[in-house]
């Protein structure tokens, strides 16, 4: 402990050590320093370094601290997996109408998809998926149904284009991420048929569904999703520099008042 306490004095700025070092060591020799004193010395050294450094140095040090914090946050954040299912929309061939051109199919697909989506992502459908797959157990215990649904919707990415429909689900459990992505796709296919049968009241709307077929692409894989390390570290660096510069400038404004 004695050695550690004396070694910790090296954390103080060199100029400070040149002035107070010998007497500081003398105090440490007179007292029976413990862990609390070691902590007190380290704290004092950091404050002294911080108070004596220039704006530039403080900003740089805070920037480095920001990078370190960002890296730690990235490391300790629980891993999540994104599973993406794709439904390809293709031109169909209808026996009594003959082949439909791709242009016709793609022209009609967004409108048809827009009719189906509200059924797939309705509160009822999503609640059923949450319960069936036992998603968000802790959130369900502590939060309301609306909160859990909000969370679920945030974890679902839905990107429709005329040629394909992409549905992703991000979740900490990789198997559940894949299962739910597939179930969302299956629900989409099922609802598309249901909507075509029950809701497409007029012929024009029915034609929209007859113009194309949906084909599910390969089973979705589970891709680990981590917070983007480079992005997070850049953010940490920027935030650290700004905070450091602000604090250093504020300190300069305050100090002359004493």
């Amino acid at each position: 402990m004695r050695k550690m306490v004396h070694f910790a004095v090296r954390l103080y700025p060199a100029r400070w050590r040149a002035r107070y070092g010998p007497e500081f060591h003398a105090v440490l020799e007179d007292m029976n320093a413990g862990f609390g004193d070691l902590f007190d010395i380290v704290k004092g050294a950091l404050l002294m370094q911080f108070n004596r450094s220039s704006v530039l140095l403080t900003a740089a040090a805070c920037g480095l601290l920001g990078i370190f914090v960002a890296a730690v946050v990235c490391h300790v954040t629980p891993r999540r997996y994104a599973s993406t299912a794709i439904i390809h929309i293709e031109a169909s061939s209808i026996p009594w109408m003959g082949p439909i051109s791709a242009a016709d199919a793609f022209r009609d697909s967004p409108a048809a998809v827009a009719l189906v989506a509200p059924h797939v992502f309705s509160d009822e459908a999503l609640t059923s998926l949450i319960e069936k797959n036992e998603l968000y157990p802790s959130e369900r215990r502590s939060g309301s149904v609306a909160d859990v649904l909000h969370l679920f919707r945030k974890d679902i990415t839905y990107r429709p284009t005329p040629e394909a429909l992409q549905i992703s689900f991000t979740y900490p459990d990789r198997d559940k991420a894949q299962k739910v992505a597939l179930e969302l796709v299956a629900s989409f296919m099922y609802q598309a048929v249901a909507v075509a049968q029950h809701e497409a009241a007029d012929e024009r709307m029915r034609q929209r569904f007859l113009h194309f077929v949906m084909r599910v692409a390969d089973p979705p894989q589970q891709v680990p999703v981590a917070a983007n390390l480079t992005e997070m570290m850049s953010l940490g660096l920027g935030a650290g520099i700004l905070a450091g510069a602000a604090v250093a400038m504020l300190r300069r404004r305050i100090q002359p008042a004493h």
Partner: protein, 95 residues
Amino acid sequence: MSDPTLLVLASLADGDKHGYAMMEDIHTFAGVRLGPGTLYGAITRLEERGWIRALNSTDRRRPYRLTADGRRHLQEELASLDQVVKAGQRRLKHV
């Protein structure tokens, strides 16, 4: 009263002392044990403000003395604390 700078000023009010002596004295009169980092942080600030000054010494244990400015500042701070103490006691009596 736990402001380290005020404790150091109060300790030096009755005579010159080096770091360890201040630490012991503060522990005796205030019941507060200042860590070495805290004590020297306070000493550094007080010397920069001209409220204490280091005396020449052949020993590494350098003594410090309260300056006239330091004494004035201490008197002001204590008067202010005294007001708070008196007001607090007066109010407690009325409860």
